[in-house]
Symmetry: D2
Subunit: 333 residues, 4 copies
């Protein structure tokens, strides 16, 4: 397999989906070993670094990419299989940025109350033990939590000539902030522009569903992925697959709309996979879906709707692409 | 243990939380073996029974109860431990009621489009195998799914003299439609009126998260529960506990508000359990919560926020009530 | 005309729609001269009275009523014409109740921020000049504003045996908090229980659209109304009429759903009034409606959709009931 | 005054805010006489033209512009005074585009129901009489309505390098679809990119508040505007002023967030105008705002919050810019 290693220089970071020249052209089937900076752009290194003083909100969620995939055209499907995610630093950071997060007023759900205290937490990483350590900032409590690396952001250039901030989750993927985007998952994204122009970043060493305070355990990440191209067949919204689940991600506001989008995307997928009438797919999924929230803090809220493959007859989605990429991933290890 | 068996007559069904005389007074610590009718009030018995013709929407979600718990006063906490849920019929029913459900216009998200086809599905139950069978109505597809019995509805009388339909999930519990309300779970509800006046019903043989089409595999249910009373300590919103998780359920609209409610309830709970500052609880939960949607179809939408006990130091909630009730439940088997 | 005067004793105040015995039975066609207490239940009499200390939230929005209207049956339409609203005190009060209002976290849109300052404003009323006076609490600014008396709350008993707090706006009317509910307006409400059981209260000497801080210039009110009964013809949601406008009020969450409800109610009304196809009514109203927000602070948010009669051919709604009642009102003056 | 006339060629139309080269550089103080194409890009010319067949959704809401304003820098304020709007055709068109509009499922509030009938209405314009004529498509009803020309879309390039579709209303203005954007109104927009890069389009011969069906009486428009630049002082969200009102426009989802944004923007403006404490501005506005909905159909929903100048002491906003531009506008006539 063609293996490409890439660590961007600081001036190569992208802060948008679309509107940026590709850093590289790659062939479908390529293995990429990528380094990405953390969401704070390395501005928070200790608990004394406050987000209001150190973080430049114009330069957050720096993306590694975009990559131009040879042959990718609008209407095609990009398949990105995550082989491995490994923290690239020995610590991660989290913060309650003023007027950002799920349990505070924001620039949208705006209120007249005082901001919550601008606070930074640093989590030490123990790669061997596979743990990150939480330490209370307002007391003595400490606890070790399992590492659970994921990517907050994977996306392609949007349609219609739009350019969107890397803080936005949408049809094109983006800042979905779902823990499902981890090693072993294949992400299927519809291509909107020639070359697809995908990028990734916003590595999380660990994140709860909802990403309540607005930031995960943010950290630089080493990502190994395999990129493939399927001609045509573009899903309307991001679809994910791992060995156990089929999934769709909806991102909008209010959050019931995010759910509606993901649930309908699964109805459409089940109609294809099992040749079902819309009403039967609607019914069957009503009794079988799981529906974890991904984020309630970004420019759009993201909801995952997923179903266990083991409940259903064995079928192949996207011509067996996930199994094929998992197989190739196994050969890399 | 004091064991009470109760199967209501049809005229004893309750259709509201509050506003109904108790069917019985029980002592704290009682074991109740209860039968409850299905949500359609037994109106759908074959695929030829259409909800628009057979279901009387004034008489759905019939409740078994309410029960007056001796000594329960406003501000107390009712603990209901579910020992066992067993389907009371050999089949369950589901339906797409016109203008009800998550992927159709409703009386709230009202639109001018035609209703979806009024369709009924019947699921055969195989208790020995532990399965329910889905059969397509618009094709030949069929699949056996695992039984996963749960109660859509558990609640107490509301505060402020309100009387609410048994279709409503709120602070007082009610029609939360969460798959977490199953055998092995203890539900903690704040008491609002003398005697608590709790009831249950809306048995589901199986339900996906979201309850997308508006109805689960609805069926009459035999429930075995233990009811206990904790003086004081009423949670603001329903809290749940099983051997593995602490959970809170928020119910409101839009769905981000349901999530906010449940997430804050977990912040408050973590502050109590671990003597944490609000900001540390907010941060720690941001990295550890799971957030499955319960329903997106009822009068309020319900979201569960839950955290794994195994991630945290060992502590007891509600003075160890869940462990105590689980222990007693074991003696019943 | 049969004229009834009624000032409730304190123990006669109602705090719910439904669930309360009628204070009186009245004949259709009766004129009622009613006194109602202010929304704070007279707890705020100076700027030194803080809502957190003085207001008992179990006893707010006291209602005058309910009145049993002879002959009113479910499916009928109650018509309430407001002849006159006159402030019953020489001052009104407003307050920012902690965690209540539109620009603060609430018990639903819950956050972890500190509450806004608990502040009370007193407005002096000059009935002769028709003005109320605003005085800043944190500076010297003062301004006289025109009196614009309205009723925050007019409603009937809900359907389905529900009992709802007088803080709730819904299908049955209730706490809609719309400035349109003023002298000269006829309110049409569908009857849900025998006798209709309507009540009113929550007098506002003046209120902006949205009722942003959660409370208007609240004051005791003398209301003169005429009550009539139309057999059958119950609207799904409250409809209003004055000399210039037809209106509908939707109350739900999120606010787009409130709007959808009111807009569809106007589509249905236009179909009846002008014998229009649904699509033509949809189109015509798209170009002619006004859509002022009523409240964004109550248990449901309320939106008014209204259209100018002068734009349309002359027709009669509800058999000319509004014109008839306006005529009778003229005779009272 | 420097007067610029400009009618774009078809290939000069812009379909985004940002991401497009300016068609022209203009000096602050310039008068612009601009022609803009209708929102359907002239695709619907008769009732037999169906939107699903004729309208290319990639090329709707064509903008005239963008114009580079000399000297405009981020943080500055662009003031656009609308002198005159005159229909540029003798007919306007409206349509119910499948799965677009307020009373249908959309790509966000997605459902499984059938689309509403794809229908086109043509309104004949009588400029002399100042009327547009509605004719029913499913019956004989017809009615003449007053012309009320407005611009659906006025905006500048967004911040952060984003490029947004001309269908989007946001901080930068854009597709707000408010009837307040008419002759006599001055629009104040914060500048985000050098030159401001403003454009306008989406002329409406008439539109109801909410724009319920998704489209107004759409038509090509001749617009006369005066463009001025204020150094610094950029408002966070669009502010509007006419002779009678100060206004702010919020655009987000859900609609309560749009309202919150506009209401807070007015609080901030009142603090500036009258040197008020935040709490006093909150209170005073609670009793005086009007809150008409602008649109409930676009990528964001827009709400206007406005207050009558006549209620308040006389002050000047933006150094009297609106009065100054109104005065200059008078000299043009």
């Amino acid at each position: 397999m063609n293996v490409v290693e890439f660590t961007p220089d600081r001036e190569q970071y992208a802060y948008t989906f679309g509107g940026v020249e590709p850093v590289m052209r790659i062939e479908p089937g390529s293995v990429l070993r990528l380094w990405s900076e953390d969401a704070f752009n390395h501005a928070l290194k200790s608990i004394h670094d406050l987000s209001s003083e150190k973080v430049d909100l114009r330069f957050v969620n720096p993306q590694t990419g975009p990559f131009h995939v040879e042959g990718a055209e609008p209407g095609d499907t990009l398949a990105i299989h995550i082989v491995d995610l490994t923290p690239a630093r020995t610590w991660g950071a989290s913060a309650t940025i003023p007027f950002f997060g799920g349990l505070t007023g924001t620039d949208r759900t705006v209120n007249l109350q005082e901001a919550l205290p601008d606070t930074t937490w640093i989590y030490e990483v123990d790669l061997d033990a596979g743990m990150v350590g939480f330490e209370a900032r307002f007391g003595d409590f400490a606890v070790e939590l399992p590492l659970a690396p994921m990517l907050g952001t994977v996306g392609v250039a949007p349609p219609g000539g739009e350019v969107r901030s890397s803080l936005v989750p949408e049809r094109f993927g983006g800042n979905m902030d779902s823990p499902e985007v981890r090693a072993g998952t294949t992400i299927f994204l519809g291509v909107n522009q020639e070359g697809a122009l995908f990028s990734l970043g916003d590595g999380h060493y660990r994140q709860g569903e909802g990403e309540a305070c607005g930031t995960a355990v943010e950290g630089a990440m080493n990502s190994t992925i395999i990129v493939e191209l399927i001609k045509g067949n573009a899903p309307a919204w991001p679809r994910l697959e791992n060995d156990d689940y089929w999934m769709a991600v909806g991102s909008s506001r209010p959050m019931e709309d995010s759910w509606r989008i993901a649930q309908v995307e699964m109805v459409r997928w089940y109609q294809e996979l099992f040749d079902l009438h819309q009403m039967d797919a609607y019914q069957l999924l009503s009794q079988t879906t799981e529906a974890p929230i991904a984020n309630v803090v970004d420019a759009n809220y993201s909801v995952v709707v997923k179903t266990q493959k083991s409940l259903m007859p064995r079928v192949e989605a996207f011509q067996g692409m996930h199994a094929e990429l998992s197989n190739r991933a196994g050969q890399l290890k």
